[in-house]
Amino acid sequence: MRDALQKTAVVAATLGILAVFGFFLLTDPDLQGTGLERVPGGEVDLANGETLFRAGGCASCHATPEQDDPLHLGGGLALETDYGTFRVPNLSPSRDGIFGWTTAQFVRAMRGGVSPEGEHYYPSFPYTSYTRMTAADLRDLHGFLMTLEPVDGAAPDHDLRFPFSVRRGIGLWKLAYLDGEPFAAPEGMDPLLARGAYLVEGPGHCAECHSPRNALGAIREDARFAGGPNPEGRGFIPNITPHETGIGGWSRAEIVELLASGFTPEFDVVGGQMAKVVDNTSELSAEDRDAIAAYLLALPPRPETPRD
């Protein structure tokens, strides 16, 4: 009897040790190669960097709250979610921000969700979309960010519920949900559509709010772009697929108008977080707005995600 107990204890302890070992092995930020590719050399294109800064909506989260300058990227915005409160970090070229980062470190942060200190970022930072961006574009974006005003002051830490507070655990989440594939247009795709697809799926990270999420907080691919509950509070983010419950019936010009001025076809004006999105899309080129509109109209039509 005593032997049996001892055996059970030994087996349990061994399994426990293996589990801990396995957890650390599987959650090692170095396990995945995403974002470790060579950064192309050559001249940094600051104008392209600014376009990507607008397309990516960096300022919507990283700009210091309660002031009007979108280029004042001190961070500190609190995102209240079901997992707890995320606090957006400083993205300015200050020692409290990204001063001293190499371009390679920036690319890895954006595409692999790993910080220069080798820690996982939480996917509240939408690297699941930014992973589609090319290293050359990220080099330009990094170059643009480094030209901005340094803002001192680090944001407070996130305040999350267990088990979400275990940052290392994000490694498991990434194994399941971060494929790390850069965007590649299907062969023969119209160049305008391809540009739109890149902007929407990559820097624009539209799906991050306009899709429902599963119990683990990952986008439900079967309902991608079909709308979903607001991840930051009450309300519902609309379906942006060309279905009758979404933007079916909208013309390309009407979508372009929304991205340029915020007016819907009913002459409502978009608000919520979309107001800041329009602040950015209104600064894009007319061609880029047209490309986004063309791609949205080419999405598979899906019925709106059921509201609870």
Partner: protein, 159 residues
């Protein structure tokens, strides 16, 4: 609902400002009756009216409809009317229901919410006065509709 005051009312800028609300009186009466029973429906109806007036205005700016000075000024009359009636249509108990998209922030910061309508009304009144042709109308409409974005960003759910 049509909001077309008589041409005669627009003799001078001042006359316009005075006459527009008077011309709207029957509409106001009907809407206030509606408001007592159904604040949510009433405020949605007002916002729809604002959207329709804006559509007409933008179509004239874009040249999709011929420019008409009375119609242009009417846009601001609709805005002024909305700015006066909206703040009173959010009593306690109308936070939810009836497909409302009103954000809880309205009741948490009613003063800030009301202040935006005061600003909207002031911008619209200034627009009413400043509008003499298509160019001045375009500028004034641009300023007034900034209020839409500001308020929707802070106080409305669902983009």
């Amino acid at each position: 609902m049509t909001l077309r005051p008589t041409r005669i009312a627009y003799v001078t800028g001042l006359a316009v400002a005075l006459a527009a609300p008077a011309a709207l009186a029957p509409v106001l009466f009907a809407a206030s009756a509606l408001a007592q029973g159904e604040p949510i429906a009433a405020r949605q109806e007002i916002m729809k009216g604002v959207g329709n007036a804006t559509r007409t205005g933008v179509q004239m700016i874009r040249g999709e409809a011929p420019f008409d000075l009375d119609t242009a000024r009417e846009t601001f009359a609709v805005y002024i009317d909305a700015s006066e009636r909206m703040p009173g249509l959010f009593p306690e108990g109308t936070e939810t229901g009836g497909d409302t998209k009103a954000a809880p922030a309205i009741w948490e910061d009613k003063e800030g919410f009301d202040a935006l309508f005061v600003e909207f009304g002031e911008r619209a009144a200034a627009g009413l006065e400043a509008t003499t042709d298509q160019a001045s109308f375009q500028a004034a409409l641009g300023t007034a509709t900034q209020s839409c974005r500001t308020c929707h960003e802070q106080f409305r759910l669902d983009n």
